[in-house]
């Protein structure tokens, strides 16, 4: 079990602006951490530095307190799963799994035993003698994970491993990877641009933009208390409300639902508030609440999305279970638990 610490880790490609800009992050031993962000945010570069495939420009990567930033990839003892699996096409499943152990000069008998154990772990014992080209995408994925784990590495790195799978298989593999990681107890860093993957699998989600860590926290914390509009928007749908300070109630911002306590700037300025679409209750007109009109209905079975417009012209998204058969043009009444509002930090 390995604890990973990134200390002001920076990567600058020749002559460009930093791809990874002084990020500091502690990953407790045995945790599943996702680096989440759009392409070009530095998450993959960070992973490559962790793996040893990219040089560190400055800063430190420490495994259990030992700086490994200059240790070449082949000596770093990491297990890596690539987006395209990167299996050895000329080796059978069994040979793929044995490769790392052969590099470690493990005895033949021990290799055989451990490969068999891995085959069982990734549920591929019936395909041991197949070549990668003869396997389905999901099976190849499991070989890749097995190959990374047979060497019992200090940390497991996964680079968008589910990106090439179809939607149904992706969900199965999410559960599979998460269960396996829990069972093995290995410290894991998972790179993805898919917020649902990051949220469902991780102990810790690290949201990255432009080479910086925008916010790091448990999935629930990131979703419910996002620091900025960008983070809020990246991990889910959000209503952003530019609210003026309420002259009547000091320390509160005026919203269509009433005054919301905020850490005030000066009077007359505005604050940005975030409100998740599912935090809003929608009821027929006449029920006490804030009146609005339904502009668009998107019904998808378990849930329904409404686009609503207030009398002052501002719009808002509401997500709810389909309780009332509202239609476009209906007048409705909205209510919100004011505690669900989040004040966001300004981004400059």
């Amino acid at each position: 079990m390995t604890e990973v610490r990134l200390n002001r880790l920076t990567k600058i490609y020749s002559g460009g602006k930093p791809a990874v800009d002084s990020i500091t992050l502690d990953i407790p031993s045995g945790q599943f951490v996702s680096l989440l962000g759009p392409s070009g945010c530095g998450k993959t570069t960070t992973l490559k530095m962790l793996a040893g495939f990219e040089d560190v420009t400055s800063g430190e990567i420490a495994f259990d307190g030992e700086d490994v930033g200059r240790v070449p990839a082949e000596d770093r003892d990491i297990g890596m799963v690539f987006q395209n699996y990167a299996l050895f096409p000329h080796m059978t499943v069994q040979q793929n799994l044995a490769f790392g152990l052969e590099m470690r000069k493990v005895s033949k008998a021990e290799i055989k035993r451990r490969v068999q154990a891995t085959l069982e772990m990734v549920q591929l014992d019936h395909l041991a003698d197949r070549y990668p080209a003869q396997l389905s995408g999901g099976q190849q994925q499991r070989v890749a994970i097995g190959r990374a784990l047979t060497i019992e590495p200090r940390i497991l790195l996964l680079d968008e491993p589910l990106a090439n799978l179809d939607a149904k298989l992706r969900e199965e593999m999410r559960v599979f990877i998460r269960d396996l990681q829990k069972r093995v107890g290995i410290t894991t860093v998972y790179v993805t641009h898919d917020q649902a993957e990051a949220m469902t699998m991780s102990d810790l989600v690290v949201v990255m933009f432009d080479g910086h860590i925008a916010q790091a926290g448990a999935p629930r914390e990131i979703y419910e208390t996002p620091k900025t509009a960008k983070v809020a928007g990246f991990v889910g749908q959000v209503n952003l409300i530019e609210a003026p300070m309420d002259p009547a109630t000091p320390g509160h911002a005026a919203t269509p639902f009433g005054p919301v306590p905020v850490t005030a700037p000066g009077v007359g300025e505005t604050v940005t508030l975030a409100l998740r679409p599912e935090a809003i209750d929608i009821a027929p007109a006449g029920v006490p609440g804030t009146p609005a009109t339904i502009e668009r209905v998107q019904y998808s079975g378990a849930i329904v999305d409404y686009t609503l417009r207030f009398a002052d012209g501002t719009a808002m998204e509401v997500k709810t279970i389909p309780r009332h058969p509202f239609a476009t043009g209906d007048a409705v009444s909205l209510s919100v638990d004011l505690a669900r509002f989040r004040q966001l930090e300004r981004e400059y």
């Binding site: 000329h90 070549y131 060497i151």
Partner: protein
Amino acid sequence: MSQRKTFLLLLPAGVLLVAFLAIPYVSVFISAFREPGQGTPYGEGYTIANFSRILGDWFYVKQALNTMLIGAVTTLATLVIGLPVAFQLARPDLKLRGLFYGIVLSPLLVGIVIRSYGWTILLGNNGVINRTLREWGWIDGPLPLMYNTLGIVIALTHVFLPFMILPIMSAVQGIDPSVSSAARSLGAKRPTVIRRVLLPLAMPGIQSGCILVFVLALSSYVTPALIGGLRVKTTAVTVVDAMIDTFQWPFGAALALTLSVLGGGSVLIFARLTRMKWK
């Protein structure tokens, strides 16, 4: 497109192939089993005498074996020289790619006769190489570089190098770079990555390069004729002698057929030995 239209599109190529490839091959095959003719390409009746003449005469057997040896050594030489070049050319970060491609292809851009004469200037007893070495006092008499098997191999290696480099290069370019990264992450150092991963994955290119060069070297005529002169003749040269100079068509055809069988057999055995189960 309908079957019929597809067939029409294939027709021109089909006619060409049948008229200028299939029929001549069949004709060579048949005349190899004919009696020699008097004032005609071949005489009446069928015989295997042409083949017994070849197999019974150590001169022809030895010549065929030497031709095979030239093919094998040329293949090996182009492989040894070409493999590292192909790996370097396949690097995705290669600069001046066009220039290097041009250099690799340059042997093919010079006419075959001119190129062979160029080699005679370099390799002859009074050639550039021997004269330079003599002036430097490294040798007393000229090194035998011309009119022997070595000279033929040198000249053939030069011209067939691109046929080795290009297939290997394209095979190496087709290797997913993350496969090497995966090997490294599993603990393989660079030489091990090359030996255990890159070379096996380049095998399809190595295999086709070897087959191409071997077959081309076996059947080459102009270079062995000019560099080998009267002293060393390959089977291909003797075939032409038999056909053109002494007008023994059935014998020439039998010799050509023998060479084809030897060459084709070698290629089959080679392909069998280097078979890749994962393909």
